[in-house]
Amino acid sequence: MPTTDDRPGLIEARPVRHPGRWVALAVIIVLVAMLISSFITNDRWGFSTAAEIMNQTPVLEGLWKGTIVGTIGAMLIGVVGGVIVAILRLSHNPVLRGVSFVYTWFFRGIPRLVLLAMIGSGIGFLYANLDFGIPFGKQLASLMGLSSDFTFFTLDVNQFSSSLLAGIIGLGLSEAAYMAEIARAGILSVDKGQNEAAAALGMNRGQAMRRIVLPQAMRVIVPPTGNETIAMVKDTSLLSAIPIITELFYQTRAIGTRTLQIMPSFVAVTAWYLLVGSVLMVGQYFLEKRFGRGFGTGAPNKRFARPAGAGGA
């Protein structure tokens, strides 16, 4: 509104034009139209068949056991193990530091596919039964003429190693090596003053880590962990190397091969992976909000907003 005063009034400036945006939009519309036309006119996509395949019982079972349970289990082991390995890595004890380094070196160095194949067939071949007892227990017992061989617990490896649990442990151990690096970065990102404040209050190193440092490190740890989780959803397809057949991709492809509906089966499995990934992205958003409390402008309680004019240092 123009004012009679000669002092400048409200600004009514024209925005900068963005012709590039319109060109990009036009190009994308054409490409999307081409894609949609191919969806409609090319029967080989077989979307209705894909939807049917998605709802087959073996596929759903594979989705539940292999993908969802597998992801949750492997990530639980991965996150807990990773934090432990990271804390060992930052320990004052040189032996523990070394253990942590070797762990990360080993599990980060071998492909998950190889690791799982090895767990599935290799370990059972090497150790048909795993005995938990005193080292050289059998030899000791025969030396002492005892009937006991100092074995407390025996595990049938061949039976165990082809189970879903073995696959989850394999993926989890591998994941822990990656999570350790993420957790270490998170722990190191916390200001040194936080540790000093905790120490000055008389907290020991464990308390300071658990109560003060880790909760703040979570802010840095959560976003890449979300990434790792989504990657893990996809890596559960490697469980078929064990071999575990209650697994999403294995089941879907089996149906596709049997019914000669190869492409629809790929569409079906893609749709499932995208769906699970989307749900995880929503979950990640809420987790980031939770662990970001007390930081930045997203502060939860607006009633205590900083008084006007009082600048914080």
């Binding site: 404040a197 000055a200 907290m203 007390g294 930081f295 309680n301 205590f304 914080g312």
Partner: protein
């Protein structure tokens, strides 16, 4: 420097040179003898001696890099000393003295020694993921094992005392610098310390927020708290301190009653430092005056 040799074997290992004044009420709460500290070959403390008695407020003054903050951090073992001895309330800090042979304390023992010493940092170091109330409750609950209910009541009392009774649920990011520092003081007080260390508590604050923090510290001094304060606030040192220590280059240059050291310094280095501080202060005052002068 005291003529007590630090290697002198004592019959009472934990008390050291304090033994002779043990029966007296005047045993200092903090005694530092010939404290030495280097960082990577760079000598920061070159033999500091200091006695702080119960209820006393001691201000450490001096230019930056003079070692005053390092010395303060040595008292509660955020830095480990290389030489000399520090005793707090008769306990040798950081070591166990067994017939003249020193043994490092375990992490647990170090933590136990820090429990009774409160510390306030230049950068506040509040726990950002906890509210003001949770910050103050944290140490009593986790370290002393105080019940939550009791700790909460005490924390609210302390927040009231520092003038923040209305903001228990605010996160540090929602508080001004002065408010954060007052929460930090309440947090340290929650452990009922017998000694409070202040490391330039107002240096990170906007000028208009300095007063509220100094006021809380002044009240604390009036209540008889033993305090060691590293500060550049000459007014506070002059009005509140019982004893001021001027440090430069890792040594104590001059110490005594505030009115003697600040108003009538003997040493050239003290004079130069105080002159510099005064001119800065005058400039600031002049600025303030010119702002307050009404415009024509």
């Amino acid at each position: 420097m005291s003529d007590t040799t630090t290697s002198e074997p004592t019959s009472e290992p934990t008390t050291g040179p304090d033994a002779r004044s043990r029966t007296g009420e005047d045993r200092p709460l903090v005694r530092a003898l010939n404290v030495l500290k280097s960082f990577h070959g760079n000598e920061v403390l070159k033999g500091i001696d200091l006695d702080v008695h119960r209820g006393e407020v001691v201000c450490l003054l001096g230019p930056s890099g003079s070692g005053k903050t390092t010395f303060l951090r040595c008292i509660n073992q955020l830095e480990q000393i290389d030489g000399g001895r520090i005793w707090v309330d008769g306990d040798l800090v950081g070591f166990r003295d067994d017939g003249g042979q020193l043994y490092h304390l375990t992490d647990k023992q170090v933590a136990a020694q820090r429990r009774d010493i409160g510390m306030v940092f230049q950068r506040f170091n509040l726990f950002p993921h906890m509210t003001a109330l949770e910050n103050v409750m944290e140490a009593p609950v986790q370290v002393r094992g105080t019940g939550k209910k009791q700790a909460k009541a005490r924390a609210l009392e302390l927040l009231e005392q520092v003038g923040l009774g209305d903001k228990p649920n605010a996160y540090p990011a929602q508080l001004s610098g002065g408010q954060q520092q007052r929460v930090a003081i309440a947090r340290a007080l929650a452990m009922d310390p017998k000694l409070m260390l202040f490391d330039e508590p107002t240096s990170a604050l906007d000028p208009e927020l300095v007063g509220e923090v100094l006021r809380v510290m002044r009240e604390l001094a009036d209540q008889g708290m033993t305090m060691i304060v590293v500060t550049h606030e000459m007014g506070f040192a002059r009005d509140v301190a019982d004893h001021v220590v001027f440090m430069d280059g890792g040594v104590v240059v001059e110490e005594g009653k505030p009115k003697d050291v600040i108003s009538n310094p003997q040493h050239e280095r003290t004079k130069a430092f105080l002159k510099r501080m005064r001119s800065e202060h005058d400039e600031a005052a002049a600025d303030a005056e010119s702002l307050e002068t009404p415009k024509p």
